[in-house]
Symmetry: D2
Subunit: 344 residues, 4 copies
């Protein structure tokens, strides 16, 4: 299987390169960039000395269409331009940006402050939440790979929402992320001296992943209401935790909900439901495609607290993209993703 | 004014020593420990080389009673034993532990898993939330200095709760803290390799600061209901952020609530209400007694998000204790606390 | 191939477990501990939830002797007791502690402040510096796996010393390490609040890896003199850098030395000599068995600066141990060690 | 005393603002910038909310000349242009950049790769190494404030070099710094995800502080030879450590050298010589103007190891500048600099 990575010089791209270079069914892995052409990849990323001899190439649509898969690991705004040119070729497309996730163009315009992709493209895109949408993913020619926060939040919420166990409108998603989610482009908000020994909240009520979460919740339960979603920058490189609060509609116990989650994810090799009373930390999924989840009911308040953690660059981006590729090509879901967490 | 610090070798104690040594109205500052006797303080804390020539001494009740103030910077369980012996002397007592904060002994037993202090002691203790309880503090001979999380949470909530603007029972307090709150005693959960590049949630629904927050909320609004309170360990040394969510009872705008907060804290030199649209980060109060607060209404959900940050060792412990001392002795509230944040 | 890990609950042990569990030629991997018996490994290390169902077992010498390899990932002082009991069985032994590295018992006593292993054991132990001692390693039944600092320093020095290009007695090795080298046992010097945002020098002129480095240098060049070796704690978890300074005996240029190093390590898959003018950082080998090296001559001073980096838990411990196992059993040197650095 | 800060929006500038705003003898503190004009300082640095109401102003030479002191906290290349315009006014000038430190214009051109300042300006500039050059500083109208690394290295070396106790040509200075030394301008090398959990060496044999160190060593001992000087980036914000190695010319003991250092710095309130066997770490001077030093002789090698630490933004920049101002105006050397380290 031959694949291409557009946006290969970003953090999502280099993580895709790592996973795909070690994937048992991937042959050529061609590196593209919309801004660089002809530069050595190992010069951009010296940790790849002796491991990569590739050069990063400019966009070549005709060539890309002949590959088996093209991954678009580009910022929002680019894939909506590029996807229409690639569709119709041999290559199936997995888009890691936010451009193709929202079915309603108005939502995109409101939250991304730009023009949405063409509706024909949007309607073809299948939302690649791998654990919850496998049948559609297997048939898809175009995948909208979920955002990092939505992945962590939706996996944590799926059993509860599908079973309609929480009060619509009571959901609070307090999300925390490492800095790598901000990408490789330097800025004041990712400058070491401004972020180390610091904790920052950002985009309060304004994060563009909000409608992505809400869209999926509504598909699971049409009564789902707007959620409160806030994001915090943690002084670490990788890792996302979402702490989610909701009001229970019935008197479920921790044990019952724990059993529900165990059962719901019994066939999902990348979701680990932790034993009652044990809570995951981000380092425990570092370097892997796992999403670890804990759940606890508070009888004092009638509320439930759910905790989920992922490695934002893997399960929140490149890893889930590879998982989707595996599903699309009838491979084992875990092919090329058998990594243990690096600990400590 | 001569003062004593019990528990001087902990992080709260050394921060008290720093503030009191540079306080314009403090003369002698005597260092006590319940476990060490006769050791050089600068050997325990080499950053004090040439700054401290004191030795740490064992507990000496008679001597301590003759001081002006005794600070108890000890773990829970010790000050409930020591306070009765000190009461009745000249010294006024400021207790930084959790022993004397809960008026209801049953609450203490439930959350601290130990026997509560004598009710006569509890009834004498004044809760030292400096911005909100000044009249009582000025007259007090015994102060229960608030916990670090309650300080950040209660200052963020006071205007809203006193004005009864949020739905009782809807409050979610998602708290994040640096590691210094865990003290100086080594443990696996504060071991560098286990905490760096990591984010951990702990004591879910079980943190002993929960009843302390609820007790004060009920004093402000008797209808206040149990709150959901969770705590997270951030890979940094100092700093607490609380992100608080509540359902508004009326159609308040961000502008109206912002004005309420500005007005409520107009006489409070250590509370800084941030401009609308700007959110504080923990580093912006590092090394100071400030509590910075932002507030924002989300019209989509009818909920409000409040963010507060403090330096947990200062406003959350030693700084507020000195502020209380200032109030008790009729000094300027800011005496000895005129520090700018260390940034970056 | 069936293997055992003694000391499986330490950081070296858990890293061995990760590498061996994913090694294509390893079957059973049995976990031993000299202090625990019967506890679940995944409870000790929750990141292994669903990945490990093993229990940690007490020492069982007879059983261990029947394995193919026993790894001793124990603190200094234990393997000198355990090795004699295991020798003579089927199992070949790879000792990761410092007990068997120094051939001269007096050196051990001077630097480790304890009694040395039996000389018959010492004489059987082969020093497992994999790149430089392959013939002996292949035949060995007992390997003394090198220390983390000696690995980084010796690989950086081998070409220069073997070629006798530097002034004996001029060598300065300024070493820097992350905290994981200190192990999992909590202590004040590895307490987060004492180490984060901090840089510490320790064991000045007293580090027990000094004689290990000198012993090997003397084997390469009998005129080698005592070296100056200092170690610093860097606020990060993994990674070692050694910055080495020496006075050149002749007018070598950077280009000539660079070519010497390229040539010397041309058959070594885990040593990467960086292009002239590019210097490795520790993150660029994170999670791998690589040792990256740069070299530069300073014509102003007649001195050479060599920089080497490793992941201390892999090339400096578990990875090199597996590399030695591969060599001992005639496997590809890189079997089970094909990892790309995790970046960022 | 009225002062001005040019380059007030950089990290050196904001630290000067903090120190000068709390200095007992400073009245107005006017903020200038060569790139901004009319912007609120507290918007640039929100940690100054309520503490600063100033606006940053464009350069106003005539006004600046009437101040008592002008601090130039600007990048190299700017103060050599600005200083000639300011000289001759009432204001004394303290330049924190590298422009005026090297007396030999050719050295500047070689190491800074730009044109040197006018020789008349260079000859007027007094090198502001406060502990070692007090008489000249007191009379100076123009101070070249030392670089951060030279401050740490020269204070560590002064007694040894002045006493001619080390072999000229044997000196190795292995320096380590936090990231704040790189300033506030974002770049890949100060991007959080590239620097956290990472250790980097940079500018090997090429750092522009090399000739500054050598120039001063030659003034102390004309036989001083070129030094080997390397710099490393530590994943922390503040702090510099220099580890210095030299070959002793005579059989000095640790005790003798320790006594020499104690005696040499007995009148220097900001230099703390640590007890024999105790070594300073950077956190122990965090937030202060201290330089802490330890020294140890290694009888095995005949070499000496000296360790010094400073807070790079204070003793390495703003603090020493204020110390120089105090000396120039006949104030107590410690005025406005009585800070205890913030620990932990």
């Amino acid at each position: 299987m031959n694949v291409g990575i557009v946006g290969s010089t970003g953090y999502g791209g280099v993580e895709l390169h790592r996973l795909l270079s070690n994937h048992p069914f991937v042959g050529d892995c061609i590196l593209y960039s919309s801004t660089l052409n002809g530069v050595s990849y190992a010069e951009q990323y010296p940790h790849l000395t002796d491991l990569s001899t590739e050069s990063v190439r400019g966009i070549q649509v005709d060539e890309m269409k002949e590959l088996d898969v093209v991954f678009l690991a580009v910022p929002a705004g680019i894939s909506k331009e590029m996807t229409p040119k690639l569709l119709g070729g041999k290559a199936r497309i997995i888009d890691l940006s936010g451009d193709l996730r929202l079915k309603d163009p108005k939502e995109y315009e409101d939250w991304y402050k730009g023009e949405a992709a063409d509706t024909s493209v949007l309607s073809e895109a299948v939302y690649g939440l791998a654990e919850c949408n496998q049948e559609a993913i297997k048939e898809a020619s175009l995948i909208a790979n979920p955002g990092c926060f939505p992945t962590a939040a939706l996996l944590a919420l799926a059993p509860l929402i599908q079973q309609k166990l929480v009060q619509p409108g009571s959901l609070i998603i307090d999300a925390k992320t490492g800095l790598s989610g901000a990408g490789r482009k330097p800025s004041l908000s990712s400058h070491f001296s401004e972020t180390q020994e610091n904790l920052r909240i950002y985009k309060v009520h304004e994060h563009q992943h909000t409608p992505e979460i809400e869209q999926q919740l509504k598909l699971w339960n049409p009564e789902a209401a707007p959620v409160t979603f806030t994001t915090h920058l943690i002084p670490m490189t990788r890792g996302i935790m979402t702490t989610i609060y909701g009001e229970l509609l019935t008197d479920q116990t921790t044990e019952e909900l724990h059993e529900l989650y165990r059962s719901f994810y019994s066939g999902s090799p990348f979701v680990r439901i932790r034993p009652i009373g044990q809570y995951p930390c981000t380092k425990e999924v570092f370097g892997t495609n796992f999403c670890d989840i804990s759940i606890k009911v508070d009888p004092r308040t009638g509320k439930v607290t759910i905790v989920s953690v992922i490695d934002n660059l893997i399960k929140g981006a490149a890893g889930q993209a590879v998982q989707n590729m595996n599903l699309m090509f009838g491979l084992e879901e875990t092919s090329g993703l058998h990594y243990y967490p690096i600990y400590p």
